[in-house]
Amino acid sequence: MSGKVITITSGKGGVGKTTLTANIAAALARSGKKVVAIDADIGLRNLDVVMGLENRIVYDLVDIIEGRCRLRQAMIKDKRQPELYLIPAAQTRDKMAVSPTDMILVCDQLRQEMDYVVIDSPAGIERGFRNAIAPADQVLIVTNPEVSAVRDADRIIGLIEAEEKGPGKLIVNRLKPEMVARGDMISVEDILDILAIELVGVIPEDESILISTNQGLPVVMTGANGSSAGQAFTNVARRIEGQKIPFLDLTAKGSLLDRMRGWVNGR
């Protein structure tokens, strides 16, 4: 078996990389794939709490690299989802404890037993980011519909191409369709126009994400059907698997007043 390594990155912090990693990994596992998620944010471990596995950590990524445990010993098995695993980050070390070569070696081993290795990259463009993209077969860039996040995504796209890891694919997270309809949020079309990159997901802002994260349960594991974000995460996973899935219709009709404003604005 030769699994695929997918890295989720963004440049800017706080755009939703960790939540996306947890949900994409869980959605892939739900479709019957063997999946391991790796938290590459050494020193700022968080994927464990988002996945609800924080109480079961014994060994971490740095323990594997420094030979204190075998690979399998650091893979926490998610009891709710067969064939979903987490390799947590070390919390008391920093990014320099891992090198890009270390990441390639660990992932080459994981590829042999797993269908997918999903890596949660830290924010920034320094060592942690370099570590996260080094083993990647596919890089997914997360952005929000705001100026700073799209600007950082553009920088990341350039860096990924320079590292010959491109072309990356884009996920637009936290879209508010009613704000787009009002003209107060950059639309997905505008973002694609600016970044000139393939789109792989659009995730609407959704309260159910925070609620499920509070409980340590990726929203796709809750049954997903009631949540538009949950459906959007599942769709990203399916597109990663090569299926042609149409994008959710996130165009808000808006109130009559909003539509009248639309006429005035020439839309």
Binding site: V150, R155, V180, R182, I186, V264
Partner: protein, 86 residues
């Protein structure tokens, strides 16, 4: 913005403003040319051209433009003809 919007004295929507600001900032990010460097280049171009031709210095424009992922430096240099007509 539509003629109706302009007629009603409407302000540009913030989403449109965001897109325009992004396009401007990315032109400079991608080319690694700062607005300050662009001004210097403009002054240099004026000096070189002015040695050979009479130009309208006040209306020289040097801009970066963007198409897809390719940047281009575009200079517009109005000439002043000898008999005073442009």
């Amino acid at each position: 913005m539509s003629w109706l919007g302009r007629l009603l004295g409407q302000k540009e929507k913030s989403g449109t403003v965001a897109k325009q600001r992004l396009q401007m900032v990315l032109i400079h990010d991608r080319s690694e040319v700062s607005p300050g460097l662009l001004e210097q280049i403009k002054d240099d171009i004026i000096e070189v051209i002015a040695q050979r031709l009479t130009i309208d210095r006040e209306n020289v424009e040097v801009n970066l433009t963007q198409s897809a992922r390719e940047s281009r430096l575009v200079a517009e240099i109005p000439l002043v003809s000898r008999n005073g007509r442009r």
